[in-house]
Symmetry: C2
Subunit: 135 residues, 2 copies
């Protein structure tokens, strides 16, 4: 089971922003340099974060991004959702009554993956961005 880099980098970048407690916009170039993440990869990531209203952009010189919410009000689950990251048990989709390896009935382990899904989502539901920077 693996976490992809987009999600990891998104959390790193947002934690970076939050830890600065800046008033104005923060450029991706600066985040790129501090966190060692490719600028163009960050651009891809921030496109999605913006679409999900996690950040707001300010274009032009001296522009950058600002957090849409206060870090103590931003759940990590929102970040993962923005990047389409979720637990995929594949073939046993949540809420799908069929599937399960092409069989018609629920497979013997169907409920297990549902529970695992919930268990992991709980973790991200209960973590706020603020939690990452107050240690």
């Amino acid at each position: 089971m693996r976490l992809n880099t987009k999600s990891r980098y998104a959390v790193m970048a947002l934690a970076d922003m939050a830890s600065l407690r800046a008033i104005g916009p923060i450029s991706l170039r600066d985040i790129s340099l501090r966190q060692g993440i490719s600028l163009q990869y960050l651009e891809q990531i921030f496109l999605k974060l913006k679409q999900h209203n996690i950040v707001k952009s300010i274009r032009g010189s001296n522009g950058g991004y600002i957090l849409s919410k206060h870090p103590n009000n931003l759940k990590l689950s929102e970040i993962f959702l923005a990047l389409n990251e979720s637990v995929k048990t594949i073939g046993c989709e949540r809420d799908s009554k069929k599937g399960c390896n092409g069989r018609s009935a629920k497979c013997i382990t169907h409920n297990l993956w549902d529970e695992l899904d919930l268990h992991i989502n709980d973790f991200f539901e209960n973590k706020k961005l603020e939690d990452l920077i107050t240690n």
Copy 2:
């Protein structure tokens, strides 16, 4: 984040075996037919399960596999371990003090991935094979 099929199939196959409550060995061919998993793929999976002493094999005609432990004594974490399935946060390896994207210091989100790892492992530590078949 995804679970690979080997781990899923391993759990399915073992749950299948456990639910039969058979005395003698169970052939992979039968499991293959019941669960719709390729025989040769099952062989790969059972090789690892055997190496980790989760099952024992009996060769020859009328042979097959038997569970090494009673289902209420087999933690799912043992199964996942046998198949090398664990949460990989990549670059932020657990117990590794360096890494984190090639930087020398712990990255800002290092502790988060450690916690997630523990959270998921807890889930599998507390689930027994028996739990899957008593519902």
